[in-house]
């Protein structure tokens, strides 16, 4: 992800040597880095993101797109836990549900008004509001619950499970079972949770009219903003020592113990982060689709999220986002024309990606990036190099293919061009 911090040192020496030519080449060298494909993609994505709400049909396509972004938020968390931490969580629906229901409960109570119970309770003959619903009258409590509940649940679960060194398929099945249990609980408690129908018929979302075009745009921008913030935050996490440690645990948990770290703590934190992102995605999806029900949290949607992340590329956070959007968009498009074919197509997609693109769509971009130096050569720019080795020729002939740029040299060479 991050490259050697060299570009900065080259720049000041290049500037004074000559006028425009060196300045331009410095500018070009800074732009055309191995990161370039990623940067282009990032700029394009942001541009598309800003334009989208004014191009897409605000009554139908835009809310769909917003929904994909909610899945992308969940997907980033899966990317962190699975791609970086090696924890295959097949039950993110549990955390999507914690966030979704926290938000849904607040919205229902808001609509019911003080002293009243939500409509579905009336129908089930529940006249007094259950105690666990009461705090959700407050929007602050509801939003706090969206953050805190998944952290608490994931932390307890993680400490129990990771300490016992449960991992791999066993961990995956365990998370799946928890999602299933949660769904059964929700369905079974019709009077308290709305059962299979879940919570629906919301009149709005914090003053936003969720039935109007403008409301759809506002929801879109909120969701896109949250996605961007979470993406950038998790990028920092991944680039930090914690992120490196997570990779180390993924590749050799037992070895990490002998480095003096407790993998239980690190994995639990990563799992909790992924749980929070799932919960936030779940909370945001409620006003967008106007409903939260057990069907959205069940095993199948949980696995579909994982598939989407695999398609996009689980080892990169951007891949998770791309996967969630592309796969869900493909699903909508295909299902409109061939309602029954999608399931087969999805299965084929998953197998195809695992077999031929283990790094997903993002892996393709990475290849582009790794092809970057060749591209730069064509453009006549020296690739940013690592600092010159302190000693003369390396004892081990390994770094042979790297060109070493002595500061200043690059600039004078550019002048000749």
């Amino acid at each position: 992800m991050q490259s050697a911090p060299v570009t900065a040192t080259e720049e000041p020496t290049a500037a004074p040597e000559s006028g425009t030519a060196a300045a331009r080449s410095g500018w070009r060298a800074r732009l055309v880095t191995p990161q370039l494909p990623w940067r282009i993609v990032f700029v394009v994505v942001i541009a598309v993101g800003v334009i989208a709400p004014y191009v897409l049909d605000p009554a139908f396509r835009l809310p769909l797109f917003t929904k994909y972004l909610c899945y992308a938020i969940v997907g980033i968390g899966i990317g962190l836990a699975w791609g970086h931490g090696g924890m295959l969580t097949l039950g993110q629906g549990l955390f999507v549900g914690l966030g979704g229901y926290s938000m849904g409960m607040y919205l229902k109570l808001h609509d019911a008004g003080p002293g009243h119970v939500p409509d579905f309770m009336d129908w089930s003959g529940v006249e007094k509001l259950p105690a666990f619903w009461e705090p959700f009258r407050s929007p602050v409590v509801a939003i706090a619950a969206v953050i805190i509940l998944p952290i608490v649940v994931a932390t307890l679960l993680g400490l129990l499970v990771f300490r016992q060194r449960v991992r791999g398929a066993y961990f995956a099945i365990l998370t799946q079972a928890l999602a299933a249990a949660f769904v059964i609980l929700l369905i079974g408690q019709q009077g308290y949770t709305g059962g299979t129908n879940g919570l629906t018929n919301f009149s709005g979302f914090f003053g936003i009219d969720t039935y109007a075009d403008q409301g759809h745009r506002t929801l879109y921008f909120i969701t896109a903003g949250v996605l961007l913030v979470i993406f950038l935050l998790l990028r920092l996490v991944v680039a930090s020592r914690f992120g490196r440690l997570l990779l180390a645990i993924r590749d050799g948990e037992d070895r990490v113990r002998f480095l003096g770290y407790d993998p239980t703590v690190i994995k639990t934190i990563a799992f909790a982060i992924s749980a929070v992102t799932a919960s936030v995605g779940g909370a945001l999806i409620v006003p967008v689709v106007g409903i939260v029900n057990p069907g959205m949290l069940d095993i199948v949607p949980s696995i579909e999220l994982v598939i989407a992340v695999a398609v996009g590329g689980r080892y990169s956070l951007a891949g998770a986002v791309i996967g969630a959007v592309v796969v869900n968009w493909a699903r909508s498009t295909f299902s409109e024309d061939y309602p029954s074919a999608w399931t087969y197509f999805q299965g084929a997609l998953f197998i195809g990606v695992i077999a031929f693109l283990p790094r997903g769509l993002a892996g393709l971009l990475k290849q582009l990036r790794d092809g970057g130096p060749a591209l730069m050569k064509k453009l006549g720019i020296k690739p940013p190099s690592r600092p010159a080795p302190p000693t003369a020729p390396p004892a081990v002939a390994l770094a042979g293919d790297q060109t070493v740029v002595v500061p200043g040299q690059g600039a004078s060479r550019q002048e000749a061009v």
């Binding site: 050697a4 920092l236 996490v237 680039a239 930090s240 020592r241 914690f242 490196r244 440690l245 990779l247 180390a248 590749d251 050799g252 070895r255 113990r257 002998f258 480095l259 003096g260 770290y261 407790d262 703590v265 690190i266 934190i269 690592r386 080795p389 302190p390 000693t391 390396p394 004892a395 081990v396 390994l398 770094a399």
Partner: protein, 285 residues
């Protein structure tokens, strides 16, 4: 299975400072027994290492050398016995807590993190005492201890390369380097020169001697030439017991050691035979 209360021992001691006099006992193994499904891997070992020592552990395959290191580092739970490090009982402690007390180890097959760069591998090894929240900060530059290790292990040129591309010998050095970055008082090295070229062995041996100047080192090694060149005190294990202990010459002259290795040879045990040959026992009467 002995259970020691982790929370109560946790608060006991921070191990004695490194400045303490050499010669004082650092590691003390008493009456150690390890049983795997009825197979006695270690049948009562007493083993002491003094501070500042460079100790070699040898013995035929299955003698219990690696098992001994596994027990010291918390990877294997013994059936009986005690392991004390600078006065602190280690049995029953979790691996990472033992590391935090100041014991580091390497493995027979060097395990480095291939997706991380050489620098990142070393940096993680150096940062384990960091409180967890601080781990979320991005690494800025190279810390002094890590830079020093890069220099010592001659890996500086490869700092930004992924560890996955390293050669076998370089991996072993990176692993030793990670151990140095951990800055432990006691290093346990499991066959650090296995599979190395002659030149690499020589350099590793010199590196080990440098390391042993400031720390206590226990090395498991099969390679007898290496042993003769670098070992001072050798402990011979055989079938889960300490057979003998002494200088290389003493050990070589010991008839029991000869029997162990030569006996193995008759049964066509390859490594035992090879080891016996390397010990120079062929010429023995």
């Amino acid at each position: 299975m002995p259970t020691s209360d982790e929370t109560s021992t946790e608060t006991t001691t921070i191990p004695a400072q490194r400045t303490a006099e050499t010669g004082e006992t650092l590691l003390e193994v008493r009456g150690l027994r390890v049983v795997f499904d009825g197979f006695v891997a270690i049948g009562g070992i007493d083993f002491t290492v003094s501070r500042g020592e460079l100790r070699f552990l040898i013995g035929p395959n299955g003698a219990g050398k690696t098992t001994l290191v596994d027990v010291i580092t918390g990877m294997t739970k013994p059936a009986a016995g005690s392991v004390r490090f600078a006065g602190t009982e280690l049995v029953g402690r979790r691996e990472y807590r033992i590391v935090k007390l100041g014991i580091g180890r390497t493995f027979q097959t060097a395990t480095v993190f291939e997706d991380l760069t050489v620098l990142e591998n070393l940096d993680l090894a150096a940062s384990f005492r960091m409180p967890v929240p601080k781990l979320f900060l991005r690494r800025r530059g190279v810390s002094d201890p890590v830079a020093q290790v890069l220099e010592t292990t001659q890996l500086a040129e490869l700092a930004d390369r992924k560890a996955g591309i390293l050669s076998h010998g370089q991996r072993q050095w990176l692993e030793i380097g990670m151990l140095l970055a951990q800055d432990p008082q006691l290093l346990l090295l499991d066959e650090p020169v296995a599979g190395m070229t002659k030149d690499e062995r020589e350099r590793t041996g010199v590196l080990l001697q440098q390391i042993a100047e400031e720390r206590t080192v226990v090395v498991i090694e099969h390679d007898m030439e290496f042993l003769r060149r670098f070992a001072s005190v050798v402990t011979v294990l055989h079938e889960g017991k300490v057979l003998t202990e002494g200088t290389v010459a003493e050990v070589q002259a010991d008839p029991r050691v000869q029997e162990v290795y030569l006996g193995r040879k008759k049964e066509d045990d390859e490594s035992g035979g090879a080891a016996a040959a390397a010990l120079g026992l062929e010429a023995a009467p």
